[in-house]
């Protein structure tokens, strides 16, 4: 069955999952920096972060991937050559994850910003008034609540990012989609192999929704208790 190409596709799934997980981590870093910049007092930082989120969200993912992949490499080579550092090799995995991370960082910026803003100002003031330090307020009041407020948006962004990983084959990553195209060309059964890839994506989506849904339920436990009691 599947002419022996199924293991190859499943091997591509490991690449797809790695890309998705690493991209999410990179996106969280960009998103956190973006959110902090947007809420900062500095007009320069706010303008930079504002441009970042506006431009990224106004362009197709595929276009951004191609621009950052090709443009980023050329830029990097220009810099390293000018500095006399020789060539720095950017492999497709790094390029793909940094690109996806940069793109989805713009969406997470909004999620994180909204989550920080959703924390009632009074709570932070109350924590400060009982003598908690800045670090303590951040650790015990701001971050736990921010995570809870950000989780629904974070979940949605993860699901969208997961689907966007299908695009990395276009910039040369050897992921599930690329494996399916090779298998299709060799066997002339594109329907079979793209259906398999689609089914795998649907399975990951389902697992993610169930898992993150359960997490969301757990994290809002304290709220429910308040509502009941």
């Amino acid at each position: 069955m599947f002419h022996g190409y199924l293991p190859m596709i499943l091997d591509g799934l490991r690449v797809t999952l790695s890309v998705a997980v690493v991209s999410l981590a990179v996106a969280s870093v960009f998103g956190m920096m973006g959110a902090v910049a947007k809420l900062s007092a500095s007009p320069v930082l706010r303008a930079v972060a504002g441009t970042y989120t506006t431009v990224i969200r106004a362009l197709p993912d595929l276009l951004l991937m191609l621009v950052i992949f090709y443009g980023g490499q050329i830029l990097l080579n220009t810099i390293t050559q000018a500095q006399g550092w020789g060539y720095v090799d950017v492999n497709a995995f790094m390029a793909g994850t940094i690109t996806l991370g940069f793109v989805f960082g713009a969406y997470l910026t909004e999620t994180f910003r909204g989550a920080i803003l959703a924390i009632p100002r009074g709570q932070i003031e109350a924590a400060q008034s009982i003598g908690l330090s800045r670090g303590q307020v951040l650790r015990n009041v701001t971050i736990p609540q921010m995570v809870r407020h950000a989780l629904p948006g974070f979940t949605n962004n993860w699901l969208v990012l997961l689907k966007a990983t299908a695009l990395v084959s276009i910039i040369g990553l050897d992921d599930m989609m690329h494996r399916a195209s090779l298998a299709s060309a060799a066997t002339r059964e594109p329907f079979t192999f793209y259906m398999i890839v689609g089914a795998i994506y649907l399975a990951i989506t389902t697992v993610s929704i169930l898992g993150l849904g359960a997490l969301n339920w757990r994290m809002s436990r304290s709220l429910r208790r308040e509502a009941v009691g």
Binding site: V55, R57, A58, L59, P60, D61, L62, L63, L66, V67, Y70, G71, I74, Y107, E110, T111, R113, G114, A115, A118, H149, A150, P152, G153, T155, N156, N157, L159, V160, K163, A164, T165, A166, L167, I170, M177, A180, S181, S184, R188, E189, P190, F191, T192, Y194, M195, V197, G198, Y201, L202, T205, T206, I209, G213
Partner: protein
Amino acid sequence: MINWSIIIEMLPAFWRGLQITLILLCTAGLAGLALAVPLSLARASSHPLLSWPVFIFTYILRGTPLLVQLFIIYYGLPQLDIVRQSAFWPFFRDPFFCAWLAFTLNTTAYTTEIFAGAIRNTPAGEVEAARAMGLSRTQVLRDIFWPGAWRRALPQYGNEVVQLMHATALASTITIVEILRVGRDVYYNHLVITESFGMAAVFFLALTVVLTLIFRILEKLFLRHLDPRDSANVSPSETTKVTVNA
């Protein structure tokens, strides 16, 4: 720095690409809108035989990448004899039809969920009050129910149309020469970023701005009665790109 001669040489090609992008956007967008209206009613229905099939459709379409859907339709379907021998084969043979079909099904799924959410959020009192005033079923649907649902759905629907416009860039992967394909060809033939992807980006940015403005005007028209301060409040869940498990 910018090679204007390449830009001037390629401008007609970008212009044709823009037309293809717009045709894809309008035809898929309108077809998706037309399909989403009945489907969202079924989806919001309390009858499981009506709501479940629609839910399965939207779940599959929203849970898989559009690129996979596009490739299944474009590369996959001709593998099946039943498609090759059917009366619809002349349609499936055409790359443009395949792209249109994939984008239509995809946007139908997202729009259906957006509308269904708006329908479910219709205040029961609104409909009850209208019925109490003696309005007929049709009148309630036409004058109370739909306008309210449409107003509630509008901001999210505007977002979906922008997403659809961005999604048309995927047509470049199946031989359709839309804006991004022109950009990719310029890059391939000249190895310049600004004049290729940069130009494509300018077109997409412009389209995004125009669509955003159109929907802002529509929102002004339909949401005039609302306090502007209310619509300025944005909750975290509304800031995400596409709501999948709404």
